[in-house]
């Protein structure tokens, strides 16, 4: 069924025949100066994958160190830097670029546009992010500063005051951290503005807002959320730099500043940030699950409403990260309630995905395997989230390995799983070649097992009272074996990722040719060539429903009759 010729407007490939092979340097140059949304999307993706490997490498050291009690594999200083960099990297240099990787590549294709609304702003945003990333990592070399102490930040990715004050953090490591996030933050703002503008003004004929693919919808809501939440983070970084260099005292507790203030700034950003990172995962599943179940998404309007609802409620829950900082009982009760409320739209999403599969003909190709695992994991993460929202229980669980397990269930179990799903799903579109299915299945199963061995076990370490951020632990606490299991699981995941990397490269070179529409899918990106030509569509597409290609393939029973 793959590769039918689709008589939809714009599906013609008008690329002129290639004029000879360009040199290596010319190719590089064309990527560096590009303003093409697809190339920028791929560059964001490569940046994210590169730092995913870096952040994963950091965690390798961490897990070796923690595999046995009283270990001396790395020093506490190095350990503290590694987990700070791991967290910062995964959130800001992997999660955030991924948002823009998907949005850039897919949105213009899905809404039938030729590029983003502001192509140059797009390139600018990417390079800000890339340079911010370099800047952060340069701290390994440059962080020593005048004092000869501290290289690479070691203040955790929360960077709680007053540890970031000059009294506690001499040298420049903390400056690298703050400035790098300031720079990538501006890149993020540019990207978010661009996405919103694109979706609002570049949609093709017939694509009303309520016909936009859910994928695009989610990333638009995501960008709105980003616009709101990056701002307090940026403000806090500026205040931190003022404290460190111009003698202000926002967070400098030794001079009467408030550590408390940083916490609020940080989490007003930090909580919604979790949703910012997870929305692309929802987006991918909202495409993959229908296509591989062979059914339209169940309850599209409810899905849109739930996404907006989650985004909205997520702005009012930040202090659930602060149940232990000594809020009033009323404050604690309020944030417990608001956090539990997030569970409602989230539940709606899970039910709608399941309902989409219900009655379908589910094909378990690699993308669908990852999305199915995601559903289980997201369900679990949601439920552990409910546990954490119960403020008194949170006094026990907060800052323990239970929390680590909970948020890795989101960051890995939801986000990374969906990123893999998305890559297997759209790789054929971006490269014109299929990824190897057998390797894909090995990748999936090993990663799935490694994930559960590691992160399921971590919940129990939390119950056993093991706090996060510790570089070692005494042998008498009963954490030894569980930690070993966690480390072994990490290793299995590492092997799976290597298989994935091999699959990526070998499929790029010699994967079977994909054709326009290898999955028999329904959104506009599958109507154009793989890889799409620079202009995406030769003529502006015209759509009549949420699934334009379904209409074309099933003229006897088109979607627009029902929407």
């Amino acid at each position: 069924m793959a590769d039918r010729t689709l008589p939809i407007d714009g599906s013609l490939d008008l690329t002129p025949p290639r004029e000879g092979e360009s040199t290596w340097l010319e190719t590089l140059h064309s990527w560096v100066i590009t303003v093409d949304h697809k190339k920028l999307g791929l560059m964001y993706m490569m940046l994210a994958i590169f730092f995913l490997l870096v952040g994963g490498g950091e965690v390798l050291f961490i897990r070796i160190q923690l595999a046995v009690p009283n270990n001396h594999f790395i020093s506490p200083q190095v350990f503290n830097r590694l987990f700070t960099m791991h967290g910062t990297t995964m959130v800001f240099l992997v999660g955030m670029p991924l948002v823009f990787a998907w949005a850039n590549y897919m949105i213009p294709l899905q809404i039938g546009a030729r590029d983003m609304a502001f192509p140059r702003l797009n390139a600018f945003s990417f390079w800000l992010t890339a340079f911010g990333a370099l800047f952060l990592y340069f701290s390994f070399l440059g962080g020593a500063g005048l004092y000869g102490v501290g290289n690479a930040p070691d203040v955790t990715w929360w960077a709680y005051a007053p540890l970031t004050a000059r009294a506690f953090s001499p040298g420049n490591a903390t400056d690298y951290w703050a400035l790098a996030l300031l720079v990538t933050g501006f890149g993020t703002l540019g990207g978010a503005i661009n996405i919103i503008a694109t979706a609002l003004s570049m949609r093709c004929k017939g694509m009303t807002l309520m016909r936009m693919p859910l994928f695009t919808w989610l990333l638009v809501v995501d960008s709105g959320l980003l616009l709101i939440t990056i701002t307090p983070l940026t403000a806090a970084q500026v205040m931190l730099m003022l404290d460190r260099y111009l003698g202000s005292h926002f967070f400098d507790t030794q001079a009467g500043g408030q550590a408390y203030l940083w916490m609020h700034f940080f989490w007003i950003f930090g909580h919604p940030e979790v949703y910012v990172l997870v929305f692309p995962a929802f987006a991918i599943s909202s495409e993959v699950i229908p296509v591989f179940s062979r059914k339209a998404i169940f309850g599209y309007p409810a899905m849109v409403a739930a996404s907006v609802g989650i985004a909205f409620v997520s702005l009012g829950v930040w202090a659930h990260h602060m149940f232990t900082v000594g809020m009033t009982s009323a404050g604690n009760a309020f944030f417990a309630l608001s956090t539990m409320l997030v569970g409602i739209p989230t539940g709606i999403k899970i039910f709608n995905w399941v309902a989409t599969m219900w009655g379908g003909k589910i094909r378990f190709a690699t993308p669908m395997l990852f999305c199915t695992a995601f559903l289980f994991q997201f369900l679990t993460a949601g439920l552990t989230g409910i546990m954490l929202s119960v403020a008194p229980w949170n006094w026990q669980l907060h800052g323990s390995y239970f929390v680590i397990a909970h948020f890795h269930y989101i960051l890995v179990g939801a986000i990374v799983f969906n990123v893999f799903a998305g890559i297997y799903y759209w790789f054929p579109k971006a490269t014109g070649r299929m990824m190897n299915e057998t390797l894909g299945k090995w990748h999936f199963w090993l990663f799935f097992i490694g994930f559960h061995v590691t992160f399921d076990t971590m919940h129990f370490l939390g119950f056993e009272g093991m706090p996060r951020w510790i570089y070692t632990y005494p042998a008498d606490r009963g954490w030894d074996h569980l930690n070993l299991v966690v480390s072994i699981g990490g290793l299995i995941q590492g092997v799976a990722v290597l298989i994935f990397a091999y699959n990526l490269i070998s499929s790029l070179l010699k994967g079977t040719i994909a054709g326009n529409d290898p999955w028999d899918a329904w959104t506009l990106e599958w109507s154009t060539a793989s890889p799409p030509p620079a202009y995406n569509f030769a003529t502006d597409p015209v759509v009549h429903s949420r699934r334009p290609l379904w209409d074309v393939k099933h003229p006897e029973d088109p979607d627009w009759k029902y929407e």
Partner: protein
């Protein structure tokens, strides 16, 4: 019949999974002596939290079973069988009734969960303290704990002693939480959840221990390089033990003329700038109070047993146990080390 490929790979992979599960069950087989487990509470707020947590576990567990079974059923029942048959299944676009149902049910669950949670929050946070309550001020330092008993006039370090309470005549302990430098968090899971110690932001918590014994925990908020070794030890003493302990701690430091050289080292080699020994010239406040050092079981906030060898090694080079701790190695000669160790050993 050939298994579909995704299942075949899955089977091999499943074997690895079983192996890993086997390893982890082995992990559970061995129980530790004193555990900081949150499921072994011995003091009231922790016990209330424990009950609440079991209730929440039941609800969330039930939700998990229902939804996960549904999902499993869907996966098995609706997976594509015959590859030849490429007819599309019936398209269903949504259903308002169904949608409404799975909105209302979660709303009800949230109401129940919230009310239960709120009740416990208010019961713990707004509990009035009885007159008999013991007041202790906890001050977090990088990387050790200071405890002050204002009514008893005591200043001690690293090992907290509190009296056993009894259900009829409760003598809870009320802790005021302060920080001298960075943020810390006081977490002894069997007694109570954690509350942070934040500079310029005094916090409080209370415990009402119902079983005597030693309870361990540790600092739960990253506070710098040695955060991992900022361990907590709380001794819940019977009233008699507690009275005896207070009695001893209230005495000034032992003045034993036979260790005069050691004391001189202590008072000339800067030790006394950072440490206090009550009744002597040593009044430093930067490090732990050493007046009754020998009454403690451990050194360096619970990291190492308090033995002569460890004590001597600690003074020689704190970094050898706790790299990055804020006590410098004082470059003492071997004989000075012996002398000062012997002196400290008299501080019972």
């Amino acid at each position: 019949m050939m298994l579909p490929e995704w299942l075949r790979v899955g089977r091999i992979a499943g074997f690895v999974f079983l192996l890993a599960m086997f390893l982890s069950s082995y992990a559970f087989a061995e129980g530790p002596q004193s555990t900081p487990s949150i499921f072994a509470p011995t003091s009231t707020p922790a016990i209330d939290i424990h009950h609440l947590s079991l209730f929440v576990l039941e609800i969330t567990g039930a939700i998990f079973v229902v939804v996960a079974s549904l999902l499993t059923y869907v996966i098995i029942r609706f997976r594509a069988g015959n590859a030849e048959d490429d007819r599309e299944p019936a398209q269903i676009y949504g259903s308002n009734q169904v949608e409404l149902a799975w909105t209302v049910i979660p709303v009800l669950i949230v109401v129940v969960l919230f009310l239960t949670t709120a009740r416990v929050i208010f019961a713990i946070q707004d509990a009035p303290m009885p007159q008999a309550a013991l007041e202790v001020t906890v001050i977090g330092h990088q990387f050790w704990w200071e405890y002050r008993y204002p009514k008893q006039g005591l200043v001690v370090a690293n090992e907290l002693h509190v009296p056993l309470s009894d259900a009829k005549q409760p003598t809870p302990t009320h802790l005021k939480l302060l920080s001298a430098d960075a943020d810390h968090s006081f977490w002894v899971p069997q007694l109570m959840g954690k509350i942070d110690l934040i500079p310029n932001h005094p916090n409080e918590m209370w415990i009402n221990p119902l079983t005597s014994g030693l309870y361990v925990g540790q600092c739960a908020q990253f506070c710098g390089v040695q955060h991992a070794n900022m361990l907590l030890r709380v001794y819940v003493d019977t009233p008699e033990q507690f009275a005896a302990w207070v009695n001893n701690q209230a005495k000034p430091g032992m003045q034993d003329p036979s260790v005069a050289e050691g004391r001189r080292v202590f008072e000339t080699e800067a030790c006394m700038n950072c440490h206090t020994v009550q009744g002597t010239a040593a009044t430093g406040r930067f490090g732990p109070d050493l007046t009754h050092l020998m009454s403690r079981d451990t050194l360096a906030s619970g990291e190492i047993p308090n033995t002569r060898d460890n004590l001597r090694q600690w003074i020689k080079s704190p970094d050898s146990f706790k790299p990055g701790a804020l006590m410098p190695a004082m470059q003492l000669s071997d004989s000075q080390l012996d002398q000062v160790t012997t002196y400290l050993e008299t501080l019972k």
